[in-house]
């Protein structure tokens, strides 16, 4: 589903040029969930934003569903992958009602006005259809993140890119959102790329985990490795020890 070869990202010019992602390669099969774990500044979010098409400083090759994508995406390419952001308080327009938030993707893509899809979309993420009338500030953090997930799914993408989707939420709410993501993955056969600093969340959700440090992948762990606490590099071991697992 996703094929990345020698992806490099650098910001800045001349002396201040900083290589954030150093020639990484990864591939994700359809229906698989890949986790990328690492500390702040390791480049994991940059990888995700390059996959989404938000960062245009990358070099290398990104293939989504078999087609290579350029730095500027076409509409069809944008339809393949949508993203859920970390902070549900800043990822939804504060002056749009929830119904407006949900129809915007449809109308932007010229796929009809989308009003009839608002109710089902809300119910699908476990919110009452009556929430369509509300403004984001009338919703809790967990409810907003559900809306953000519903919005990402409006265009029926095959890939969902998740950037720390629960790190702004309480543990109990995190559990609800993670369950929702698991259910949706099953119902729609979605492919996830989940970026997080929290090994527990990554371990719970992912089939395979890439450990990232200073712009490179230093370890790859399977679900079984996580269960038995097996690691193949010093850094992954440190990370494990520090996570109180």
């Amino acid at each position: 589903m996703i094929d990345v070869k020698d992806l490099s990202v650098a910001f800045g010019q001349g002396e201040a040029r900083k290589q954030v992602v150093k020639s990484v390669s990864l591939s994700v099969a359809k229906g698989e969930t890949l986790g990328i774990v690492g500390e702040s500044g390791c480049g994991k979010s940059t990888v995700l934003r390059s996959l989404a098409g938000l960062d245009r400083h990358w070099e290398g090759e990104i293939k989504l569903a078999g087609t290579a994508v350029a730095k500027t995406r076409t509409r069809e390419q944008l339809l393949l992958a949508q993203m859920v952001f970390q902070d549900p308080y800043s990822s939804i327009h504060p002056r749009h009602r929830i119904e407006r938030v949900l129809v915007e993707p449809m109308q932007s893509m010229k796929r009809g006005d989308g009003w009839d899809k608002v109710g089902p979309a809300l119910e699908q993420v476990g919110l009452p259809a009556a929430f369509a009338e509300r403004f984001p500030h009338e919703l809790s953090g967990g409810q907003r993140q559900r809306v953000a997930i519903a919005r990402a799914l409006m265009l029926e993408p095959e890939v969902l890119l998740l950037d720390e989707p629960t790190s702004a939420l309480d543990v109990s709410v995190q559990a609800e959102v993670l369950n929702l993501l698991s259910d949706l993955r099953e119902q729609r056969n979605l492919t996830y790329v989940l970026v997080s600093h929290d090994l527990a969340v990554i371990g719970h959700m992912c089939d395979r985990v890439l450990v990232m440090k200073d712009g490179s992948f230093v370890d790859e762990l399977t679900r079984d490795d996580l269960k038995h606490g097996r690691t193949h590099s010093d850094y992954a071991r440190e990370l494990f020890a520090a996570s109180y697992l």
Binding site: G53, L54, S91, H93, R95, P105
Partner: protein, 300 residues
């Protein structure tokens, strides 16, 4: 269920109206906790009503001269006294509100959209466009509006329209700067990033996403600006570059009252009081609006 599905189509307008009403209600409730702001809004409401119904409210004609009756002190017949031509000052002040309201709204309607458009385009597009637009803004900002108005009056002839154009020409840069600053903040938010991901066009981003976030602070700024507009308009009138006699422009009234100030104080003071109260009301209303529209400045 079928009834529920057809209902939204029918009642969309009704829904919008009821939402607007609810929003107005909460704003009014917030306002009631701000007595000073409430005072400002009441004064402005009175000003507009007076301007609309000036012929019905004014006891005398604003231009009818009555020389035997000149320079009368305030009395029960002439609450604000009479001027050197025996015209009733109160009636002139009442008709003067029309000029004031007209100036303020004309300038605001010209300045608001122009400033906002320049600001959000500069902020959103960035790069060279931003640099060029902002340098133009800086240049215009360095013009003193009074001097520019003098030049305009010399070129086009003095009059209310000239005054409005002159004030507008120098009035938009602060709005543009404000809109640009807001745009720069909004441009990098996650909700704009998400909108880019679902293919929203630049125009859609500008008008659906960025402009709505700039409007509250721009409205607040415009309201505050209105106080300044009144003062500038009065200054132009005072210099004889605004509305021409015998139009009852407040600034021009002060100017003509100047000659009699020592013996007949009311001729100059009454329009002065009118200018003071109106400009104060706009400032108070602007302050209150900021508290209502812009939660960042919440004081509680």
């Amino acid at each position: 269920m079928s009834a529920a599905q057809t209902a939204p189509v029918r009642s969309k307008a009704f829904l919008a109206a009821s939402r607007l009403g609810a929003g107005f209600g909460t704003s009014l409730a917030k306002l009631s906790r701000e007595p000073l702001g409430m005072f400002g809004f009441i004064v402005l409401a009175v000003l507009i009503v007076v301007a609309l119904f000036a012929p019905l409210i004014a006891p005398f004609s604003p231009t009818a001269q009555n020389l035997p009756n000149a320079l009368q002190a305030p009395s029960w017949t002439h609450w604000a006294g009479t001027d050197e031509f025996g015209r009733d000052i109160l009636s002139r002040l009442i008709y003067g509100t029309r000029i004031t309201v007209q100036t303020v709204f004309a300038v605001t309607i010209i300045v608001g959209p122009i400033g906002m458009l320049i600001g959000i385009v500069a902020g959103f597009v960035g790069g060279r466009t931003d640099a060029i637009l902002m340098r133009i803004t800086d240049i215009v900002l360095s013009f003193p509006s009074l001097i520019l108005a003098l030049a305009f009056a010399a070129a086009l002839g003095a009059g209310l329209e000239t005054a409005i154009i002159a004030i507008s020409l120098t009035g938009w840069p602060p709005i543009a700067r404000l809109a640009r600053a807001e745009t720069l903040l909004v441009r990098n938010t996650d909700y704009v990033a998400a909108a880019r991901l679902y293919g929203a066009s630049p125009l859609r981003l500008l008008f659906r996403y960025i402009a709505p976030m700039c409007i509250p602070s721009v409205v607040v700024r415009l309201t505050m600006n209105m106080a300044g507009i009144i003062l500038t308009a009065a200054a132009l009138g005072f210099l004889g570059l605004g509305a021409q006699p015998p139009a009852p422009e407040w600034g021009a009234m002060i100017s003509s009252g100047r000659k009699f100030m020592l013996d007949n104080w009311w001729v100059a003071v009454m329009p002065g009081v009118a200018i003071l109260i109106t400009s104060l009301a706009f400032n108070l209303a602007g302050d209150a609006l900021r508290d209502i529209l812009d939660p960042r400045h919440d004081r509680s």
